[in-house]
């Protein structure tokens, strides 16, 4: 019974980190689908979200306002990044583009270090930190924030991509950019939109996890890689798969940390990543194609 309680506890906390990975991975997938680029600066948006929120709170703005300002800061960074580094390159190879995103991530990280120093900063929990008891396990109110915001974001983006004409246009671009241009879709604008969406979602992920993990200029590296891992598990072009991939990763990590050793926590994620890349590089949820040529 005690073992069960322990497992339940690990799963619960795994779920909340998994939700974060899912959000970050979702950001990877959105940009990958519209541009074919794996944006390794994705983690920096996550870092910017957390640190900028703390920055605005320290300037005595209330939390909701700080959150909005922080998302705006990260989104603006995403827009500038797209405009300056991605759009001018017309015929760059994928490898060059990946290198550019890595360069951008180093630049953004360096900027954050100059701005906020190398210390870790703390964002207070959104609504206290009295634990809530569920069966034998406890969770923090912040976990509830993480769950509900993640669910909300995923529901909203499903609505956006399946219902709105802009969302459908982005899916069309992801599938075939040339044909998208031929029906009147401004492909460059869709690429910009994808950067806006993914930097906003990434920064939000950074904001909601900041009270649990603390923030510093370099948190984006690891979180970004975990999000990448989630997206790979789910298969890059599969939004729902990315979410499940993130949750799976979070839970496995948390179980591994609990039962094996906490120091192997990160190793677990990368072992999974390598296994997926070796054996099912298209992700574990890819269905057989139901299409004719």
């Amino acid at each position: 019974m005690e073992a069960f309680g322990e497992i339940f506890q690990y799963i619960l906390s795994g779920f909340s980190t998994g939700a974060i990975y899912a959000l970050i991975g979702f950001g990877f997938a959105v940009i990958y689908n519209s541009t074919g680029i794996i944006n390794f600066a994705q983690g920096e948006f996550v870092m910017l979200g957390g640190l900028a929120t703390i920055f605005f709170i320290n300037m005595n703005f209330p939390l909701p306002v700080s959150v909005i300002f922080a998302i705006a800061t990260a989104t603006l960074t995403g827009v500038v990044f797209e405009r300056l580094a991605i759009r001018p390159l017309k015929n760059a190879t994928p490898l060059n583009l990946v290198l550019i995103t890595i360069g951008a991530s180093i630049l953004i990280r360096g900027g954050a270090m100059l701005m906020w120093g190398k210390d870790t900063h703390v964002l207070p929990s959104f609504s206290g930190s009295d634990p809530i008891y569920i069966a034998d396990a406890t969770i923090l109110p912040q976990h509830l924030w993480i769950f509900s915001i993640t669910v909300l974001i995923i529901a909203a983006s499903r609505m956006f991509f399946n219902r709105s004409i802009t969302g459908k246009a982005m899916r069309a671009c992801a599938y075939n950019r040339e044909a998208a241009g031929l029906v009147g879709i401004d492909v460059k604008k869709m690429v910009l939109f994808s950067f806006i969406i993914s930097s906003a979602i990434g920064s939000l992920a950074g904001i909601i996890i900041a009270p649990l993990t603390m923030s510093s200029y370099d948190v984006g590296v690891m979180l970004g890689l975990k999000g990448f891992c989630a997206a790979i598990i789910g298969g890059m072009s599969n939004g729902a798969g990315t979410v499940i991939g993130g949750l799976l990763l979070g839970i496995l990590e948390s179980l591994g940390a609990g039962f094996i050793s906490a120091s192997y926590k990160d190793a677990i994620a990368f072992i999974i990543l390598l296994l997926i890349l070796f054996f099912r590089p298209e992700g574990i949820f890819r269905k057989d194609e139901t299409e004719r040529v």
């Binding site: 004409i165 459908k168 246009a169 899916r171 069309a172 599938y175 075939n176 040339e178 044909a179 998208a180 241009g181 031929l182 029906v183 009147g184 879709i185 401004d186 492909v187 460059k188 194609e289 139901t290 299409e291 004719r292």
Partner: protein, 247 residues
Amino acid sequence: MLVIKNLNTYYGQVHVLKNVSLHLREGEIVALIGANGAGKTTLLNTVSGITPARSGIVSYRGLPVQDLPPHRIVGLGVSQVPEGRQVFKPLVVEENLELGAYLLHRNKEGKEEAKKNLQMVYELFPVLAERRRQPAGTLSGGEQQMLAVGRALMAGPRLLLLDEPSMGLAPLIVQEIFRVIRSLVEERKTTILIVEQNAKAALNLADRGYVLDTGKIIMEGAASDLLVNRDVQRAYLGRDKKEIWER
């Protein structure tokens, strides 16, 4: 309606279109025929803004359009049905059609027009209405071609560029698609530039034709004249010399 003058287009170093000039009058069907690799698709893609010209003029209703991006050209009323259909396979049929009217979604009147166009396309191709909720990738080749034509019509184009609409399709379906093309011209006064390897079918449909050979226009004239022209027959209509000799 469309005037192309001294057009030169390159793919990297390869000079694909060499000083091409042609024109279309309003309400006309013009066929562009030629062998594989002659540059027919490139010509359409240059008009559509996908493969911009290096030099020369493309003017649509008096407006130079050779430097505009594809979405602006669609906005002016020039739609292309691309080679190989290129429907959005993961999206359902109706989403494909909606996206055809993407530019109309900017305002209310446009949305109304998009709805009307959707009804029109479903009347033209009833099979698309039956399959409206199916992913486009599950359609047969002929149905995908109908969807590609329908998607282009959703924007309400005044000039329709058709790239190899008969490619890989059964003769009966080709007839069906050509019937719709003919009705577009009669009922909606759409102007059409059609590119075909199936030269006979295209020339039967068209008023005038151009023959493109390795990037140059080598012949032009009334479609009925081209159909009986011996050089055209020999090169593109699949009649060998002997057959023509015996006639």
